[in-house]
Subunit: 382 residues, 4 copies
């Protein structure tokens, strides 16, 4: 794909330097990280040193005050290396923004500089074994006791779970609230807090270097000073910030599609069968044209959506559409591109193999694609 | 859909006045025209009077020198009334531009004012019974004899065939040319030319008010002065102008999709079954959300494509993608929207019924969707 | 397709004689019938004379006591001529079986011989403007008055509506029944009954020779002797007999698919573009192979379903699956085969054109495909 | 699914005993085998002891002379445990049959008993780094030298590669043959043959316990007595035996689909969101009904295909259709079932996760699905 309409020279320079950095410090290590099932903290630190963590944070807290176009570029370039780097976008564009938007001055000063520097790695813990799509139904409780909250419960599927030092946890502070979602708050739990333990690193189909894990809270004592925003307002905050989360997932999916298309184009042009490149078979051609078309279309749509987001428009419907359509499309493309690679497509050493097993989760997390459709339906008056 | 990014106030005003005109002079007659299997010439004349024919033509030839945005609006508003009005776009944006681009000064003066006024209705005759996709293979011949060409052959599937007074005919002037496409020229044949007769009005699945027909040339004597551009350059001209033809078809398909979505949304909200609106069934909701998403995505893509076209960029790949994807999408949407209408969807008095039988031809004409894919494939180096 | 496993020599002979008959008496007239928007009663009479109406009826009422295999053959051969002959299957396999199964001895003697002979043409009127899928909600009432029922209400979309002389009407005899479906009965209304009038012949997208119409009942006096089966048992009867109705629709859809595949294979082998048959393009080949596969698979499935039906097994789930899948598949195939015909596919004189506009209704009537899915879902415990 | 029409009591008993065996000896070990990336030879030996290896082999060579129905049952039950057991079917139904069909009496006596007993594990090595679909183009050579063939070349993607003790290798014995496929022969290479080494065990997206690997031949000296059948007849043998290979893959795919459907039905009925089981959402219901329908249809088709195969009919077209359609369907179902599992579907401890990453290879091996389509196309005269 060409660059976005909204990219200017400074963005291009930024992209170049980031890409160069990643080619040197991420690409060669990526396979090892996948085997290790985790990305080393040292890499996070390097990212921080280079200014690639949370560049949007205001300068007074150590950031660059960069606009969302930089986030787009970081999201794309990380994804281009491999989907397991998804935790960086989560940190930059999903978790930290809660602190920026709803944190008190004191909280910002306490945490943001570390987030920018790579000393803090963040996670957001909403999902529980019994509550995923139906977030309002979560059962982790936080009971106020003096200056603390006593937290009890379990979270699961938490991205950056093992590496994280700061975890934004959605808890129930008013179990009797009706409707339920009015009793939810957000607590920032720090690593090492008594009663908080990290559980298993989960064994997933893909995203192998992503340290997704379970988290346990047993009479965990969290200072009330760690409450983000107002009590019982958590759900509202989540609904607001989930829009950018979905946008970030949509951008990654689009990048994955572009990447798969590109590598498959290369492959079919060089691979031969029956005395000619497999790119010469009309089926190969039509499949690739169809994918290229969807990639091109997706690009236009995303471009317009990012612009709307930067302009502060209400993007709820559009981002829900983008999240489901772009992830479903990427999922479909992964199957077709693997197929065009023949047997090699099934071998882990080929990047298409990794893409295939990494992508399907994008249709599940950040709000499942079915949930996206229910959101749009409601907004269409259905 | 909202309006396009590039629409300005003057365009909105133009759209409003056109829509008002059509609601008065086209909508109420449309069903009768469908039964009559033709649109009366008087309607064309009214269009001309109002300035809705070829507004792009320069003022010296009677036009308004309007930019392509006006063409977009006319295309959309005609399609909104019904697909049988497709012949207007063909006249405005497909045929007449050949005269504008390749006609001599004399030719422009002779014909353009009539085209703008609605005194002339144009058609373009490329397809023959034995040559459609494979245009270079056409067999209608034009042999130079003194100041005339003697034309022999048959054309078929010609839009505006019956109403047309000026027909741009692709003929073979050099049957020995190798490659074949280098022997093709464009002749403007006027109604009444000896040896030229209009054949059957074809009986089609849809587009009932469109007067698609066969054309016959038997020793038809066409003045050499009616040659458009240079001899044997016809194929080059066609390849150049076909891009806008495909864009026009893509715009109509997008409009049809938007229209079908809108009418189906209305329908499912008011129709009840099992004690509730059928819009309350999740299947109805998801289907409509999926369609709305494709419509929204298509809109973004088309918007960006129209901008590229207006900026004079090479749009060959992108317009070929748009032509196939938007028409295929519209075809799919027509089937799903008909289904959501239940039995009523199959009744001609419901607009969705007409849409269903009108739309599939869009995947065939202006270059079949398969041909679009071969074009893109070639450009992708496949 | 080859013949079914269960076809024996006698069935083959029957098929041959029927096909010969239709080639002589239906095929040449079909286009005219389509223009006339009706099949003449004389053709029905000829069918009766030849033993092609209701052969399953027991010999004592004039039938042949033939098994369901004959019905399959009649259904297929009628559909092969054209979908507008669908009314014959409705008469044979859908309406008349109600009389056979639930009619009294007296009723059977009164009506069955005429149904077999072609003197009676039957229809079944369930659907109303406000109640289609949700049959239990119908509002046509029948109030007992002495030896009669006084019927008031309106029916719509009734196949054979104009030609029919005997109409099986679903009426509400107990408007207070709870659940609603327990208040429904079936009345056989004879043509000419006072207060019964036939409404408009509906203008449909396809099935042009099928005389689908509205029916009106205004204080219509129907003898109580015309009640079929027990009062308020109508819904149970319908649920039982709808299974064979759906099977008949599934068989027709499969036949349509086979027919479209065959004609398209012929077409692509003979049509040329770019110097070779269009069957030589890999896209054409793969599309046709995919369709042939679905046709082959559909055939196996239907074969096994028909066997289950003849063996008296519970086919509710399986026939609902078949009805939706085979009609959806036929709908999809119609679009793809039309496309492979290029411009000719859109011309009414090509059979594929007619197939395209005839088939979509099969996904709507006899219980919409969505209703089929809800039935299967319930049976799967969902 | 119910049992096949052709299963008799003895087959049911066999299935029961096999299933019981597997539940005890395979299911509890399966996860460990997946981690180990191989199935231990001891398990093969146990299979042999129990009579589950090559039961079709004639009694004089140690087998049971069992018919193909037993193969169907073994294939299904292995697949039900997990796709990594695919190597058993390869041994039983793909490789060993070459020895049975084309081996000399001496060869049969030498090898068959060991194959039945589990002392020999077989593999078939056709594919090379540069020749997969285009088998005739293979470049591993075998040059006759006295009583031996000197084999040079490399094979890749070989199922059972590491465990195998007998490898049927496709070699080029006549490099000048024209057409190329007339120069191919089959040699049975024994483990330990000088010059033969096993290469890397390949790292695959799925089938983790399957020991797929590379094989190297460097001046490998294979006794001419190990030639299977006649020299230069190898391609003919392959084309004949590949039909059963494809059938075996089709059976496994159908089993996988049935298994996924079943586990997903269970899951959605027990998993709750928004206060009700997710099986209560209409989208869940419709998706599952659609899958159940395809599973049911696939079952009928496969049943009829297996019958044709057992009856010795030409199944080339039908098995090619089945191979592509059933594997593509299983691939699609895997994505949808994973999605319905939400986040859990992406966790390796859920069987659906394994199914998702195991299934796509079925669309690639045993002749890619594209190759299947070219075969059917040719047979349809396209
Ligand atoms: C790798 C990975 C990383 C993750 N990272 C995080 C993280 O960092 N933080 C965090 O909080 N969570 C995280 N998640 C959790 C993720 O957001 C949830 O898995 C997701 O929201 C779905 O919830 P669930 O798994 O409980 O599925 P369920 O809610 O149980 O849904 C099961 C199925 O039912 C469907 N469904 C649910 N409701 C409806 C409805 N109304 N209509 C139709 N269908 C419906 C769903 O779409 C889905 O297909 C992660 C998950 C994974 C797999
Ligand atoms: C209503 C209507 C209006 C029309 N108006 C006009 C008009 O005004 N002027 C005019 O000149 N023409 C007009 N046409 C003709 C139209 O442009 C042609 O029908 C179209 O270009 C296809 O040509 P064909 O019908 O000869 O199909 P063919 O060229 O015979 O194609 C048959 C099928 O083969 C496919 N095919 C062809 N080549 C390839 C390939 N290389 N690879 C894969 N598939 C291939 C096609 O896509 C198609 O599916 C009109 C047609 C219709 C139906
Ligand atoms: C040509 C033709 C011939 C016919 N012949 C006859 C005849 O001879 N006799 C007769 O009685 N009727 C006949 N019908 C009527 C036919 O059976 C109905 O049209 C059909 O049952 C659908 O009912 P409806 O049109 O009222 O649609 P509606 O019930 O209004 O349905 C509208 C849409 O909502 C969907 N929907 C409804 N309920 C649900 C749900 N619970 N979940 C999800 N989606 C749902 C439907 O599937 C459909 O897509 C005929 C119809 C046609 C078009
Ligand atoms: C896990 C695994 C196990 C295997 N086990 C064995 C084994 O035991 N023994 C063995 O010999 N092999 C085995 N194979 C190899 C397998 O059979 C081949 O991978 C397969 O035949 C495809 O060959 P290829 O990988 O060379 O793909 P290619 O032939 O390079 O094909 C690449 C792509 O081009 C497409 N293509 C090729 N020709 C055409 C055409 N004419 N028209 C359109 N498209 C075309 C293909 O469909 C594919 O999508 C195995 C493979 C895997 C992955």
């Amino acid at each position: 794909m060409g660059k976005y309409r909204f990219e200017e020279e400074e963005h291009e320079l930024f992209r170049k330097s980031l890409r160069k950095f990643l080619e040197k410090e991420a690409v060669p290590q990526y396979e090892k990280w996948e085997e290790d099932r985790i990305i080393p903290k040292s890499f996070w630190k390097r990212l921080g040193d280079m200014g690639f963590l949370c560049p949007q944070v205001e300068e007074e807290y150590g950031g660059l005050g960069a606009d969302f176009r930089y986030a787009v570029i970081i999201g794309e370039e990380m994804e281009r290396v491999g989907a397991s780097l998804t935790g960086v976008g989560l940190h930059n564009d999903i978790t930290v923004p809660y602190i920026e938007a709803y944190g008190s001055e004191e909280q910002k000063q306490r945490w943001l500089p570390g987030c920018v520097a790579g000393d803090h790695i963040t996670a957001i813990a909403m999902t529980e074994p019994g509550a995923g799509s139906d977030l309002a139904n979560l059962s982790t409780t936080a009971v106020r006791q003096g200056d603390n909250y006593i937290v009890n419960g379990q979270k699961t599927f938490i991205t950056n779970g093992i590496n994280s030092t700061l975890i934004l946890v959605a808890v129930k502070t008013d179990p009797k609230a009706d409707p339920k979602h009015k009793g939810i708050s957000l607590l920032l739990v720090e690593e090492g807090t008594p009663g908080f333990t990290k559980g298993r690193k989960l064994n997933k189909v893909g995203l192998h270097a992503q340290d997704t894990s379970e988290l346990y809270f047993e009479d965990c004592v969290v200072p009330a000073a760690n409450l983000i925003g107002a009590e019982n307002k958590g759900f509202t905050y989540l609904m607001e910030k989930l829009q950018q989360e979905r946008l970030v997932v949509a951008i990654a999916a689009q990048t994955a599609s572009e990447d798969m298309l590109e590598m498959t184009l290369d492959y079919v042009k060089s691979r031969k069968a029956f005395g000619k490149p497999i790119s010469s078979f009309q089926n190969t051609q039509f499949k690739l044209v169809e994918m290229a078309t969807e990639v091109e279309i997706g690009h236009s749509f995303l471009e317009s959506l990012i612009e709307d987001h930067m302009a502060g428009k209400d993007i709820v419907s559009k981002v829900s559409m983008a999240k489901y359509w772009l992830t479903d499309t990427a999922k479909k493309i992964s199957g077709e591109c693997m197929q065009l690679h023949g047997g090699y497509g099934y071998m882990e050493e080929y990047k298409i193999a990794r893409r295939f097993r990494d992508i399907p989760v994008a249709a599940i997390y950040a709000g499942s694609n079915e949930i996206m459709k229910t959101i749009v339906a409601k907004r269409m008056g259905l």
